[in-house]
Amino acid sequence: MALYPLMRTGSAIAAQQQSEFDREARYYEKLAHRKIKCVLCPRECVIDDQETGYCGVRENRGGTYYTLVYGRACSANVDPIEKKPLFHFLPGSGSFSIATAGCNVLCKFCQNWQISQARPEQIQNYRLFPNDVAEYAIKSNCRSIAYTYSEPVIFTEYMYDCAEAGRPKNIRSVMISNGYINPEPMRDLCGVLDAVKIDLKAFTEKFYREWVAGELQPVLNTLVLLKKLDMWTEIVYLIIPTLNDDPKEIKQMSQWIVAKLGPDVPIHFSRFHPVYRLKNLPPTPTKSLEIARNIALDAGIHYAYIGNVPGHEGENTFCHGCGKLIIRRLGYQIAENHLSPDGRCHFCQTKIPGIWK
């Protein structure tokens, strides 16, 4: 579907008209000598005057902290919800998907590094304020707004207001995130979001330290918080050959998910493609994905999927009650759907976890 024409703000223009997109940030503390401490994410940057935090999109100006990306989207597309991927959330629906520049981690395998590792003035942007986003979602026949591509944690104010703008219009909101966020902002966001997908990048601190420049434990804390707040959550685990594909690690992670989150949280094992600063490794063999999926299923997870391998059986949903195929997918398309409108298996009436209407 063609994107509606949006007003673009080139980098040079944006630099001059920056005030339009600058809003005082939430989640920070003022310190002495015009310093501030950002408490949005576990990094908790202490930022001097005129400097940005690690994310590059939140700036201290004279002791007041600003987000530089409010209404300043760098990407806006209509995507199938399956692309996020969210397989248990309004299947077959469109999701108006937006992002801004910036990210609070530095994955060396980032697929969207051109925007996630850039600052807003370095890339092309769209002028797209929350009410505009909700309107475009309606015009595009989308049932949700997805905050995705880069890292929505760093544009939390914008995300929150977009989600609020969509709610009266019956437009849902989904956050596609690394989960590297402090509990208070996550809790606040859960008041306006309908689903969250978390990229669990590995199950060791070592991997997070060396390949992500982040930490595992806060991400696990976020997952537990989402469970506690009854937020619909799915997990993606990108399997990178030799770095995070150890069956023992995947077994430990699967067991942790079942114990802490329950068996109904779907997990998607995705195929890695060499990109950005990790080009010396091959794409993930399909066999590795199948092994991971089987480990997860054996550990008791009800819904384990394979991603980025179009046509693979692991893309489909099988009822955890009777084992029959209930949703068949071809890439991002729904080829068969045997769910009742209230999310029950057509064959055995088992309630399938998810948001279906």
């Binding site: 000598h33 001097d48 005129q50 850039a118 600052r119 420049a213």
Partner: protein, 334 residues
């Protein structure tokens, strides 16, 4: 020929018009290193003059110019300043003057010093159109009092946000960054002109860290007091090979509260450091900041939890950017 502030400002008034970003004809290759640099690799000239300010504490442009010329003559071992500049720069060079304007007026590279550098380059027969004053952004330059000028046939003054960054990622060690197109596409040589100051995360900022203003993602590289990131950025070939001279602004410096300007912790040193070795320059700058901190009963940077360990990293066997051994630095005081 001297240039005063009024002339300089007049010359840098925004003339409008399109800016061409292709390499200028006759631009020298980026791996040119004059023999004069090798011969004086770890020599650092410290030039100080108390008479550099008028009765109101304002810098006197002509005095700054004289101070710089003296320093250049000593560094290049000649009695003629123009000859010194000619030892480093040819008339076909396109020279970028990388300044530091983050802190705005008060703690940015002083315009009087930049004016003197421009005059020095012109004395080496460089046309003004082959000189580019640059930093991170037009906004930073403007805040520090510089006038943005992008016209092709004149002295230029502009930020990376105007010229953009390379699509290609350049990598060394822990860093991977797009680089300023001014650095990569425009300049054959760079004069690195940082201002010496305290830094709240990485300890100090001077020659090595000034190139954070040439990459697109410096926000990613302040962890662990900038170590090894600052040293790694300097290793990127376009930086390491094109950097031909370092002039550290010590006219006013700051020993606490940086990088923003904190007048209560700044002092007028009325001097400059001139040399080629960024590690030696940073080592000396660090020494001066520690000395000031001692005088004001402040803890050492190590005790404050922000020892600039990246300086030693820049000197290690993987980087070899210079020496941090004070005994190996030939410091010439004038």
């Amino acid at each position: 020929m001297s240039i005063n502030r009024r002339k300089f400002v007049k010359k840098t008034i925004h003339a409008g018009g399109a800016f061409y970003f292709g390499m200028l004809p006759g631009c020298r290759g980026d791996d040119f290193q004059p023999t004069a640099i090798q011969a004086n690799r770890s020599t650092v000239v410290e030039a100080v003059s108390p008479s550099i300010r008028d009765g109101n504490g304002k810098l006197i442009g002509d005095q700054v110019h004289r101070l710089l010329n003296n320093a250049m003559e000593n560094l290049l071992q000649t009695t003629n300043a123009a000859h010194a500049w000619k030892k480093l720069f040819g008339k076909d060079d396109v020279v970028g003057i990388k300044i530091n304007c983050l802190a705005g007026r008060g703690m940015s590279t002083h315009q009087e010093l930049v004016e003197a550098i421009v005059e020095g380059l012109k004395s080496a027969d460089l046309p003004e159109r082959n000189i580019i004053i640059w930093d991170r952004s037009n906004r930073d330059l403007h805040k520090a009092g510089y006038q943005i000028k992008t016209g092709r046939n004149q002295l230029r003054c502009l930020g990376n946000d105007y010229s953009g960054y390379t699509r290609e990622i350049y990598e060394f060690g822990a860093v991977g960054s797009s680089l300023s197109r001014i650095l990569v596409d425009q300049c054959s040589a760079i004069i690195n002109v940082p201002i010496v100051k305290d830094h709240g995360i990485v300890g100090i900022t001077n020659a090595l860290k000034n190139y954070f203003g040439a990459i697109h993602n410096p926000n990613k590289y302040h962890d662990n007091c900038g170590d090894p990131f600052i040293a790694d950025v300097y290793m990127l070939p376009h930086i390491r090979k094109k950097n031909r001279l370092i002039i550290s602004d010590l006219l006013t410096a700051q020993y606490e509260g940086g990088p923003p300007f904190m007048p209560q912790w700044s002092w007028d040193h009325n001097g400059i450091l001139v040399g080629f070795d960024p590690v030696a320059m940073d080592t000396l700058a660090w020494t001066k900041i520690e000395q000031k901190r001692r005088e004001h009963n402040l803890p050492t940077l190590k005790a404050a939890g922000r020892e600039p360990t990246y300086i030693a990293t820049a000197a290690d066997e993987h980087h070899q950017l210079g020496t941090n051994n004070l005994k190996q630095i030939k410091l010439v005081k004038i």
